[in-house]
């Protein structure tokens, strides 16, 4: 049997399964089977690639057994570690795990580029250009994703910002492009230390590019790096003459780019704005103009008031995820529903750390779809609501985004929670949101603050409502 034919036909089937799987993933009803379909494609492609061992380069023949052993060890280690960590991670920490796995993919693409370059295996201007470009993008995706992971995981706090940062980054990128151009100009025949410098600088650039970006913008950044990795994989696929990599990489590259645009649009900002400017830079001038004070209220009292409301809208945010309060929240919702209160959820497009993050959390707790609404669908209903309760959200409910032109988040669409008759804000402390902007909502006359961990607050509310006694 011809090894090349087996490999090529397996890749063909795998590419079909990837696209079909992604297609199925795009509808809630078939989504679960979609990932399984794509998984079979992956398994097939990986198994088929062992037929490569039947037809290796002459130079590699003496090393074949070592190489196969190395490949098996690397596969087992990578698969074993990722499988365990993926199974273990809590739902709330999913975004950083996606960032981490994505960075690994970028690293693998950069590794392919490095081997091609230091082995002087790539010839022809187009191949060489794509190898260099894919290596550059892959390395940036690797270090950038690692920083994104570390930030979301709380391993790195704060942001690195200095006035000349954009200038430094700009020059760094120019140097990278110059080295890349030099390598291509010389047909790849340059001394290996230059390759090392190239990849090292690309990694540094990824770090420098991600460090100034604040927590609230992380979803956009992760999505962007996801698209980067896809592109890098597609380019390296061209270099290796591997259609499976080309197709899968380019599909992800374009899908990821579109997703990034959608997410940035939801925040009413451009991708360039997310990357090259930051909230913190402008916020200094805008502060200190808010009148009034924050009025605290006991969790139990707030709970009882909700019990006697006729319509309650819940606006969840990242704080809900951090406190793991989604199950307790649903318990509270069921209690309210039993008391004939109409309860709805309002989901801001960038609530949490990734689009759809809140939906995943609420789905985990078993909250039915039909009471969860997107911002556009529910924003007009806040003025009819007796109570709007904000749980661990901040910037996405800041009315200053609608009214205050000097506010750094001016223009970003927000949930109109302030229009409800009564607003409760469940919050751990008096701090600012991730954008570093003060929230005028917390000082509004119709707002009362419930301080505390979201899960404990939910428990207190549930107890208070239960203590009223059941029955209608």
């Amino acid at each position: 049997m011809n090894a090349a034919l087996l490999i090529d036909s397996s890749y063909f089937v795998a590419a079909f399964l990837f696209i079909y799987g992604l297609k199925r993933m795009s509808s809630p009803l078939s989504a679960r089977s979609g990932i399984v379909v794509a998984g079979w494609g992956m398994l097939l492609a990986v198994l088929a690639s062992f037929f490569y061992t039947l037809d290796v380069n002459d130079a590699a023949k003496p090393h074949l057994n070592t190489n196969i052993a190395l490949a098996l060890i690397a596969l087992a280690l990578g698969l074993g570690w990722a499988w365990r960590s993926g199974k273990k991670v809590a739902m709330t920490e999913m975004p950083q795990m996606v960032a981490l796995y994505n960075g690994m993919g970028g690293g693998a693409a950069a590794a392919i580029a490095a081997i091609e370059l230091i082995g002087y295996k790539t010839h022809g201007t187009v191949s060489l250009s794509l190898a260099v470009l894919g290596g550059l993008i892959g390395a940036i995706a690797l270090s950038g994703s690692l920083i994104a992971w570390a930030k979301l995981d709380g391993r790195i706090n704060g942001t690195l910002r200095f006035s000349a940062l954009q200038l430094v980054n700009g020059s760094l990128l120019l140097i990278l492009l110059a080295i890349g151009g030099y390598i291509i100009w010389h047909g790849g025949a340059v001394a290996w230390p230059l390759f090392a410098v190239f990849f090292a600088l690309a990694l540094i650039y990824g770090v420098m590019m991600t460090m100034p970006i604040g927590g609230a913008d992380m979803p956009v950044v992760i999505s962007l790096y996801n698209a980067f990795t896809g592109l890098a994989v597609g380019f390296e696929g061209y270099v290796l003459n591997n259609p499976a990599l080309m197709i899968a990489g380019m599909v992800v590259g374009s899908a990821g780019s579109l997703l990034t645009l959608l997410m940035a649009k939801a925040m009413n900002r451009s991708v360039a704005n997310v990357l090259f400017s930051n909230f913190g830079a402008a916020s200094d001038e805008a502060e200190g103009e808010i009148a009034g004070s924050q009025k605290p209220i006991d969790a139990g009292d707030a709970g009882i008031n909700m019990r006697y409301a006729s319509k309650v809208i819940i606006a969840p945010g990242y704080g809900l995820a951090v406190a793991q309060a989604q199950h307790k929240l649903f318990e509270l919702v069921k209690l309210l529903q039993d008391a004939d209160v109409e309860v709805k959820f309002a989901i801001h497009p960038v609530a949490g750390r990734m689009p759809g993050h809140m939906n995943v959390l609420l789905a985990e707790a078993g909250v039915p779809y039909d009471i969860i609404f997107d911002m556009e669908d529910i924003n007009d209903e806040f003025k009819e609501a007796d109570v709007a309760i904000v749980i661990g959200a901040n910037d996405t409910v800041n009315p200053a985004a609608r009214t205050n032109k000097s506010s750094p988040i001016y223009g970003m669409p927000v949930l109109n929670v302030d229009m409800a008759k009564q607003v409760y804000v469940v919050k751990r402390g008096q701090g600012k949101g991730y954008s570093g902007v003060e929230n005028a909502l917390f000082y509004a006359d119709n707002t009362q603050m419930v301080y505390g961990d979201a899960q404990k607050v939910m428990v207190n509310m549930i107890q208070a409502i239960k203590s009223l006694g059941g029955g209608h």
């Binding site: 795009s26 190489n67 190395l70 693998a108």
Partner: protein
């Protein structure tokens, strides 16, 4: 059997890139917001196919540096694929239609 791999260069490669790009664009464009996170995770899994390219590079490695980098590449690629699969599968498991209670 006489079969040799087709070399995908020039316009053939360009066509593949173009059609694949449109495919990705179309799939994401019509997706409800609630699936954005799982779909990002799912596409993250799919570029884990890079492990196959890394495998080829490692199997054809002929020097120690190439073997080291190839080893790292396969390790990272396998992590991308396996991790992406597990995380996506766990997220999507929550979208079982049976979770949807009937309305009254």
């Amino acid at each position: 059997m006489d079969y040799t791999t087709t070399i995908l260069t020039g316009f053939v490669a360009l066509y593949i890139f173009m059609l694949a790009a449109f495919t990705g664009f179309e799939i994401i464009g019509r997706v409800p917001a609630i699936l954005h996170t799982p779909l990002m995770s799912g596409s993250n899994f799919i570029h884990g196919i890079v492990v196959v390219g890394a495998l080829w590079a490692l199997i054809n490695a002929s020097s120690l540096p190439e073997q080291i980098i190839g080893f790292i590449g396969v390790l990272l690629g396998a992590g991308n694929a396996a991790g992406g699969y597990v995380v996506t599968e766990r997220m999507l498991q929550m979208f079982k239609p049976s979770n949807e209670p009937g309305k009254e």
